[in-house]
Structures are given as structure tokens and as C-alpha cells.
């Protein structure tokens, strides 16, 4: 029992098939793995490998074709729409590649949004949101609208929004995909530090091997399947051995294929 509880996310034989007219495309093909609580897990793979689809499946945004995904021991694909929404309010946070901030709202209001859905009182949520913005270094820009901010700032608002309700799991889909390398590092540091401070589980999708280094564990997705799982936590074991294939092969691939955003 104790072993099972330690796994906060369990993916069992997950399968996703898209139908494009008469053609069937298997985006995720019979994938199984588990993620421990407090782990920083990276779904790493090239464009079109199905990693983003897998993340969406784990977050319950997309429907599974087959198999099951358990989060905190609950099958999220068996939940009602309302139940899933409530579950997201309380347990999940999201960081998107394109930030997905609401342009009509100020930074502060954007961060408040998940708390609004949770029926939190104005005063309380304003305080939490302000704290959060300070933590991501935007204490001075709370009244600005997303359109008046740089990409890095917008993503920091996005991170604040993802963490404001203190969720146990934060899903990040290419969080630095639209940022330059320096800002990317800053953003990754923020995510990692925040998650560590509250023992939160991070599931991040990336195609960038450098970003994958931030993770405790890298799940390498290739062609809709788990290619290999690399544990980086026990660095003293086979640190260099594990990293070498990762550093070489995908880099070659990403050089050959034009980077395509999912």
C-alpha cells in the first residue's frame, strides 16, 4: 500500500488514437509509467513524438482511447466533467508554452483566476496572488496587462497562476518554448525552486535536452512509446552513461527536423 501511495501519477497502458478522416494515427501507444510525489519528471521527445498528447491525457484535457491514468489513486478519465473541474481546481496547475493568459485581465487578475473558480474570497485570493507574483519577481507589475509584458514576464505570470492554488501537481507544456535561452533558464529555475519548496510534482514536456537536465527523471518518448526512462536523481550511479545517448541522438534529430510546435 505504501509503495502505491508514493506514486502520485500512474499511467497504465495509455493509448490515444486520432482519426483523421479514414486514417488512424496512434499518438500515444500503450504507454505505462508512474511518477512519484515530489518528483520533477520530464517527458522528453522530438516534435510529433506524442509527448504533448500524453501530457494532455494525464491532465484529463484529452480523452483516452484505451488504458487508464490514475492521479492520487483516482481514475481521472472516469470522472464527470464537473468532478474533473473540481479536481483540477484542487490538485493541478498548468503552465503553457503560449502562456494562455487572459488579455483582458491584469497580471494580478490572471493569477487570481484559479482561486476565483475555487470560490475564494476577494481579499484572501488577492493576497495569495500578490505573494505569488512577488515570488516570481513581478511584484511591481501586478496591474499590467499581458500585452504590456515581455514573453518572460508573461510566462512568469503563467507560473504564478499555476502555483497560486498550491496544487500537488503542475503540468508544464514546453514552458520555455517561446523564450530565449537566458529567460528559459530563469523560468526553469523559478519552476524548480517553487516545486521543491512545496514538495510539488512537476510534469514537464520539452524537446530541449538542456531543459531536461532540470528533471529528476526523464521519460523519453519516441513515436508514441516510452523509449527509455532515465533516473537523474541518483547522480552518483550512471550519470554520464545515462546522459550520453540523450545528448547525442535527439540533438541530431532536432537538427534534421525543423522545430515544430505542438
Amino acid at each position: 500500500m505504501k509503495d502505491k501511495q508514493e506514486y502520485i501519477i500512474e499511467v497504465k497502458n495509455a493509448k490515444k488514437i486520432y482519426r483523421m478522416g479514414s486514417e488512424r494515427i496512434t499518438a500515444v501507444d500503450d504507454v505505462s509509467f508512474s511518477i512519484r510525489k515530489g518528483e520533477f519528471c520530464c517527458l522528453y521527445g522530438s516534435s510529433g513524438s506524442g509527448k504533448s498528447t500524453l501530457l494532455n491525457l494525464m491532465a484529463g484535457i484529452e480523452k483516452l482511447t484505451n488504458g487508464q491514468i490514475m492521479i492520487k489513486g483516482r481514475n481521472i478519465h472516469r470522472m464527470s466533467e464537473k468532478g474533473l473541474a473540481k479536481f483540477r481546481q484542487n490538485n493541478l496547475g498548468f503552465v503553457f508554452q503560449s502562456y494562455n493568459l487572459l488579455n483582458s485581465m491584469t497580471a494580478l487578475e490572471n493569477v487570481e483566476l484559479p482561486l476565483v473558480f475555487k470560490h475564494m474570497k476577494m481579499k484572501q485570493r488577492r493576497k495569495l496572488a500578490l505573494d505569488m507574483l512577488k515570488k516570481v519577481g513581478l511584484g511591481e507589475r501586478t496591474k499590467h496587462k499581458p500585452t504590456e509584458m515581455s514573453g518572460g514576464q508573461q510566462q512568469r505570470v503563467g507560473i504564478a497562476r499555476a502555483f497560486v492554488s498550491n496544487p500537488e501537481i503542475v503540468f508544464a507544456d514546453e514552458p520555455t518554448g517561446n523564450l530565449d535561452s537566458k529567460t528559459s533558464m530563469e523560468v526553469m529555475d523559478i519552476i524548480k525552486n517553487m516545486a521543491r519548496a512545496n514538495n510539488q510534482t512537476i510534469v514537464m514536456v520539452t524537446h530541449d535536452p538542456n531543459l531536461a537536465q532540470y528533471a529528476d527523471r526523464i521519460i523519453h518518448i519516441f513515436d508514441g512509446k516510452v523509449d527509455e526512462i532515465i533516473d537523474l536523481k541518483n547522480k552518483d550511479t550512471k550519470d554520464s552513461d545515462l546522459l550520453s545517448p540523450l545528448n547525442t541522438r535527439p540533438l541530431v534529430e532536432s537538427e534534421m527536423l525543423p522545430a515544430e510546435q505542438t
Binding site: 494532455n56 491532465a59 484535457i61 484529452e62 466533467e81 464537473k82 473541474a85 473540481k86 479536481f87 483540477r88 481546481q89 484542487n90 493541478l92 498548468f94 503553457f96 494562455n100 487572459l102 483582458s104 485581465m105 483566476l113 484559479p114 476565483v116 473558480f117 475555487k118 470560490h119 474570497k121 476577494m122 497562476r161
Partner: protein
């Protein structure tokens, strides 16, 4: 989401598209305005009919007179004919459908006597049940005739006329207190020849009742129970010469008028047609008012139609606005869904926006409705006066109200506006909830 948050978000998104919101609201305003004008004019007309009815008698009353006036097809006077009204006819009229009450009316001329002063009077005698059936006014003192005591003489508010001394040269009227002073009544002596051996007939009036003011025909007439009248009339006849006595008694067999009440205003015309079939001309107030009523109904129908059409158009424009708004905010809806917004909240958010458009339109519409009502009452006389006067109440047209807004009307109009908003927002809102989060987040904007 808390209700306050829904309000805030809804108002924010309405404000984001000010011009579009304003134009949509305008549609509702026009619809709401028409509804208010329609109903307020309807009430104004009802009110004006009510006062006319008070002044000229009940709209359900039909009278058949000895001299029936004949009108041609266009309602012009074409002469009159003498018609014999007797018991036979009374029974025939009673048998007509929808006739609720019938009474014969016998009129007699005479004078009131107070010492040496005299006052001419015309008494209308009718069945005592009629005083109830034809909605006679309340009495300031005295009692309507009953089975036990039917000797009451009922004076209208302005009755009797003033008392003068016929032998004096001065013709100064004297004040008579009907409750205290001793007054007697006698029939005019010039009508029939008196039997010289008998004393002139006169009867003291001990049972007097007086009506309150009604501004109607009652004010200028004096009434009596027909049975009692016949009794004193026969007593009077006994004082006449043998020859004239027969003539005088014969008068009782004929009535000066038959008055009947119809159960419903809609049946007045039908009953009048039936009386015509019996060979008698009848009159009713309704036949004068009918063209007015028809015109006002047509006018109201036109306004109602305009109101309904503009409400329908504004419903379409609200629906259109909401659909556009949802297209624009597809991505937002997707993000909100992923962040844990319950479907119900999304639906309520859009419903609130649509309802808000209805509410704003309704509120402004009600405001303009009051303004329009004011303007109609102030400057609308040339148009509405012609429609509503109907040639009957011409004297009182000055300062008349054509548009009356009853208390419930602003609420009704507002309610309709909000309902139109909610109804036309319902399907777009439902559509918004059906948007798949993943599809929504992929859309660009």
C-alpha cells in the same frame, strides 16, 4: 465562482466591446419602449372610457325609447319613429340571450311643494330591483326602496331644482333642507281635468333619499319605485273627471323607456340586433363608442406588433452578439476550463452577459417609456384626442391623459427584456460550454 465574480467578469466583457454592447442594448430599448407605450396607451384608453362611462352611463346598458332614433349605415341621423313600449315587448326583451336585467321606465311630470314655493320635477319610475342592477350610486342619506318600504323618492345629486314662489315677482330661490323640511308632491294640474268634487291630489314626501355625486345622468334625475308610483298615480287618477280618468290610467300601460343591461360588453351589439328584429330601435352608449374602441384597438395592435417585432429583432441581435463573443473568446473559455472552471460557471457567465444586455435595455427602455408617456400626454392630443374622444367626451379633452403607466408596467417591461436576453443567450451559452478545452486552446487570438 462567486456571484460577485461572475458579475465582475460579465460586466468586464460587456465593457470590452462597448459599441457592440451599446448597439445590442439599443435594440432591446426600442422593443421595451414599444411595449410600455402600447400598454400605457391601453390603460389610458381604459381610463378615459371609464370616465366616459361614469358620465354617460354604463357601457352595457341599452335603452329603447318611445321615440326611437334611426340611423343610416354610416351612423347619420335619418329620422325617428314612435314605438309602442308595453308589457308584451318587455317580456320579449327579457327572453333575449345575454340580457341580465330589464326594467320599464315610466316618466311623469309634476311639481314639488314647499309652503308657497314650487319646483318642477320629472320622476322616472322603475322596478326597485333595477336600482341594484343598473348600479345606482351610493346615497348620502335615505334608503333605496325595499319590499317593506317602497315609498322612497330618490333625488339625484343636483335634484330637486330650486324652489321659487310662482306668485312672487322676485323669483328668488329658497333653500330647502330635504331632511327636515316638509315637502309634498303633486302632478301638474293642467294635464287632466280634476273632478270638482274631489280635493286636489298631493302626497307628502316623508321618505326621501339623496344620491352622491357621480357626474352622470343620475345627478339630474329623480327616481321612484314603479309599484309605489303606480299606487300614487291611481290615487291621483281617482281625483280626475271620469273621462280623463280613463285616459290617465291608460298611460300606465305604456312605458316611456325600456332599459336593459347586458351581461357583457361584447354582447351589446348582438342584443341590439335582436331588438331590431323585434321591430324596435334601441340605443346604447357603446354604439357611439364602438368606432373609438375599434380605432384604439387597432392602434394598440399596431404598437404591439411593432413591439413584438423589435423585441424579436433584438433577441436575434443579442444571440448574434453572444455567438460573436463566444467565437472571440474561444481560447479564453478553453483556458478557463483547463484551470478548473466548472461548466456551469461558463454557462452562467454568458447567460449573465445576455441577461445584462436585456436588463440595461429594459432599464433605459423604461426610462424612455416614462418620457414618452409624458410627451404623449403633453403633445399627443392632436393624434390621440381624435382617436379617443370619439365625439362623446369632447368637453373634457383638455388635460386628458392618453398614456397611463401602471405600477406593474415597468417591472413587466423589464422582466420581458431580461427574459428576451436570457432566452436568446441560452443557446449560445450552451454552445460555449460544449467547446472542447483542447480545441479551444489551439485557436489563435
Amino acid at each position: 465562482m462567486r456571484i460577485s465574480d461572475r458579475l465582475r467578469m460579465g460586466i468586464r466583457s460587456l465593457f470590452r466591446r462597448k459599441v457592440r454592447t451599446l448597439l445590442t442594448v439599443l435594440g432591446v430599448v426600442i422593443g421595451c419602449l414599444f411595449i410600455i407605450i402600447t400598454i400605457s396607451i391601453g390603460h389610458g384608453m381604459d381610463k378615459s372610457f371609464e370616465t366616459q362611462v361614469k358620465e354617460y352611463g354604463s357601457l352595457t346598458t341599452i335603452t329603447v325609447d318611445t321615440y326611437g332614433v334611426i340611423y343610416d349605415e354610416d351612423g347619420n341621423w335619418a329620422g325617428s319613429k314612435e314605438q309602442k313600449l308595453d308589457k308584451n315587448l318587455l317580456e320579449q326583451i327579457k327572453a333575449i340571450d345575454h340580457v341580465r336585467a330589464v326594467t320599464p321606465v315610466v316618466r311623469a311630470e309634476g311639481e314639488l311643494i314647499f309652503g308657497r314655493y314650487r319646483s318642477g320635477i320629472s320622476i322616472s319610475a322603475m322596478d326597485k330591483e333595477a336600482f341594484k342592477e343598473f348600479e345606482f350610486p351610493d346615497l348620502s342619506f335615505g334608503q333605496y326602496p325595499t319590499d317593506e318600504d317602497n315609498s322612497t323618492i330618490l333625488f339625484g345629486f343636483y335634484q330637486p331644482w330650486e324652489f321659487y314662489d310662482p306668485n312672487s315677482r322676485m323669483w328668488t330661490p329658497v333653500q330647502v333642507d330635504l331632511e327636515k323640511d316638509k315637502i309634498a308632491f303633486k302632478f301638474y294640474s293642467w294635464q287632466y281635468e280634476r273632478n270638482e268634487r274631489k280635493r286636489e291630489f298631493s302626497i307628502p314626501l316623508n321618505n326621501i333619499a339623496k344620491m352622491e355625486e357621480t357626474k352622470s345622468e343620475f345627478d339630474y334625475n329623480t327616481y321612484m319605485d314603479l309599484e309605489y308610483f303606480q299606487k300614487i298615480y291611481l290615487q291621483y287618477c281617482n281625483t280626475l273627471t271620469l273621462e280623463d280618468r280613463k285616459k290617465a290610467i291608460k298611460v300606465l300601460d305604456e312605458y316611456q323607456q325600456i332599459r336593459l343591461n347586458v351581461d357583457n360588453i361584447d354582447n351589446v351589439e348582438e342584443v341590439q340586433d335582436k331588438i331590431r328584429e323585434l321591430g324596435f330601435q334601441s340605443e346604447s352608449l357603446l354604439q357611439y363608442l364602438q368606432p373609438t374602441i375599434d380605432a384604439s384597438k387597432t392602434l394598440q395592435l399596431i404598437f404591439f406588433f411593432l413591439g413584438a417585432v423589435s423585441m424579436f429583432v433584438s433577441a436575434i441581435s443579442i444571440a448574434n452578439t453572444m455567438v460573436m463573443s463566444i467565437y472571440e473568446r474561444t481560447k479564453e473559455i478553453g483556458v478557463m476550463k483547463v484551470l478548473g472552471c466548472v461548466v456551469k460557471d461558463i454557462r452562467l457567465l454568458f447567460l449573465f452577459e445576455a441577461g445584462m444586455i436585456g436588463f440595461l435595455g429594459g432599464t433605459i427602455g423604461v426610462g424612455l417609456g416614462y418620457l414618452a408617456s409624458f410627451l404623449i400626454n403633453k403633445y399627443g392630443e392632436p393624434i390621440f384626442g381624435a382617436l379617443m374622444g370619439g365625439g362623446v367626451a369632447m368637453g373634457d379633452m383638455q388635460g386628458a391623459t392618453f398614456s397611463i403607466i401602471p405600477i406593474y408596467l415597468p417591472f413587466l417591461a423589464l422582466g420581458i427584456s431580461i427574459c428576451v436576453g436570457l432566452l436568446s443567450g441560452y443557446f449560445p451559452a450552451r454552445r460555449a460550454t460544449k467547446i472542447s478545452a483542447i480545441e479551444a486552446m489551439r485557436t489563435e487570438n
